[in-house]
Symmetry: C2
């Protein structure tokens, strides 16, 4: 899809340069932050047997959420204020609705946030190998990314991030806790302590997409009105509604209000608003999924261990498996696992790219994974000998 159809362009003597894009837009590549599993399936010409690459929740949304989405008045635009959902979220967490902005997933909200803060040349700090969609937004608005490596325990390194932010005068600092793609985590108290090191004029973007499957106390116990940070959460992960595109930001009311300057006010679908509201209220389903995630994490650990490789302890709905060699080796493992019909992904940069990343699946999904992993490792090792 991203190929420029040169043939047509030449035939009609029309070139991209004839369109008067902004200089910034001209400079951007037409890329996708992530290739979707559907694209891979079309290339492979067969469906995956297990879909464990995008940290979706195979356990699905609450049946009440499914029912609410099915019964939504699709002919009506969604409420542009997301009023009921914002108030329910606020009640749920002891905040006020003025602390909450609802948007088209964390992806959409990160785009708005970056657009609010980042202009040409503005500095932004993130970890080397962290969420590519955030980087995509920063590049898309002309910002300059400064990247800091993970620490020796495969954790993002808040101290180093905040120190770098001070050095470059960063407007935004991105930190996912728990982390994606490694699944590692800091406690909320640790994050709170690190905040003292955050430069006064930098805003922390704390991505808590995986919070609902992390230990209690993973979010810093500070007031929602704290102007130093905005927290991002989502219905895409543990709530099982990735396809419905609904996330929320929690922060100072002035910051939350600023989203109204530029967000797509009618952007969250009516079904998503109804579904998220129902999902939020179904505590039993949430607990059930949390237990299923815990079981799956243990199972992925066992599968790794029985294959002589090591699962990294995870506070998320996925597990990074250290394949024990370098990125090239892990990439061969990944490709063989994918070829075997199991969709997984892997970290982008060294040394985290010694791992493959496996989302929590049903027992059946993980059986598929258990079946393909030994052969994938063997194949990767034998290719290594051939090189």
């Amino acid at each position: 899809m991203t190929l420029v159809r040169l043939q047509i362009a030449v035939d009609k003597n029309v070139f991209m340069s004839d369109f008067r894009l902004t200089d910034l837009a001209k400079s951007l590549p037409a890329t996708v932050p992530f290739v979707g599993p559907e694209t891979q399936e079309r290339m492979l010409k067969r469906p995956f047997l297990a879909r464990l690459g995008a940290n979706e929740s195979v356990f699905g949304p609450s049946p009440k959420a499914i029912e609410a989405m099915a019964g939504a008045d699709h002919w009506k635009y969604g409420d542009p204020e997301n009023h009921d959902l914002r108030h329910a979220i606020a009640d749920h967490m002891g905040a006020t609705a003025s602390n909450i902005v609802v948007g088209e997933g964390i992806d959409g909200l990160l785009g708005y946030l970056v657009r609010l803060f980042v202009g040409a040349g503005d500095a932004v700090v993130t970890s080397e190998g962290a969420y590519p969609t955030f980087n995509y937004h920063v590049a898309g608005f002309g910002g300059v990314l400064h990247k800091v490596p993970y620490d020796a325990k495969d954790r993002e390194n808040p101290k180093a991030l905040f120190s770098q932010a001070a050095k470059v005068g960063a407007k935004l600092v991105y930190l996912a806790n728990p982390d994606n793609p490694m699944g590692t985590v800091w406690t909320g108290d640790e994050i709170k302590g690190f905040l003292d090191l955050l430069p006064a004029r930098s805003l922390l973007v704390l991505d808590e997409a995986y919070l609902e499957c992390a230990p209690a106390g993973t979010s810093p116990g500070i007031l929602w009105d704290d102007p130093r940070l905005i927290r991002m959460r989502t219905f895409s992960k543990v709530y099982g509604m990735a396809g419905a595109r609904v996330g929320y930001g929690i922060g100072h009311p002035d910051l939350i209000t600023a989203f109204n300057k530029l967000r797509n006010h009618f952007g969250v679908t009516r079904a998503a608003q109804d579904g998220a509201l129902a999902a939020l209220q179904d505590h039993d389903w949430l607990e059930r999924v949390q237990a299923q995630i815990e079981t799956a994490r243990l199972k992925i650990g066992e599968i790794a261990k029985s294959n002589g490789v090591q699962a990294i302890p995870s506070a998320t709905n996925f597990v990074a498996i250290d394949c024990g060699q370098d990125g090239a080796f892990a990439k061969r493992v990944l490709e063989a696992v994918n070829d075997g019909g199991v969709f997984v992904r892997m970290p982008f940069v060294a040394p985290q790219n010694r791992c493959i990343r496996v989302s929590c699946g049903t027992p059946q999904d993980l059986d598929h994974f258990a079946k393909v992993l030994p052969g994938a490792l063997a194949q990767a090792r034998s290719s290594a000998f051939r090189v």
Copy 2:
């Protein structure tokens, strides 16, 4: 929602200025292009009896689309390529998938398009009183809007628009055909003729949101690859899926590819993609809705006539009713109609704001409207005397 919570700001000694927004973002108001009917209902403390203000399709989506959305795998992210839907749309209209970009409604696509083309100070041309969300995007990216009045027949004026575009060196020219809010229309051949007057370096944004209820031949019969324009269409109007947020743009493949530089690749929900695909294939439902719209337009015309006011002939799923006096008068009519429990809207600027705009409703919806209109007109007239 758009109120800055000054109390909290003062209490904590935190002010908006402490957030390092870009200068552009600082300059933007935190406004909503349209106040939603839900907001009005919360203010009125009762639901509307008829929802005829947002040109939604009260006739709903195809039952097959409803079924497809209900059965969607909500736990999976939507296909970021929108592959199946793009190909189906292309087949439907004899284009290729490389001519089609699918996005989060025309609103979302207009935002991406403006972002591709418009930087600080770039000129854009539209009609005085045309679609506010387009203007919102232009302002949001620092563009400068140049507005041209409607012609004497309440039509947007392509000749004047294109002449203005030449004068100011516009990057984009916006034209809705059929028009919103007036419902007037040019034939496709007329549009095609006007295109010769479009400056070589301006791109025409032809918003065809209401095409499916306009006469055959309303879209210009030129090739999809024509680099002079991009056409925007939607599943929000005649297809009855406003709440699902799915629209598409049709244009030159190079232009379509450029959207991949900055769109939210996973932004269209899985249910919306499934639903739109089913809707596109249900020709019977489309024809049925087209007939219902035609019936409703006639009925609105009769209601107007029997109240001594005049419906403007419409090629859309709404009818502008000329209330026969000025904007202040029409606003009083509008408010009385709303107070009577019927949600309608009105054009923003003179002289089009002598009208109220009524979406095509069910017979029951229009009965409500017929009941409240006489009193609303009488009330507006008596207030005029009181002034």
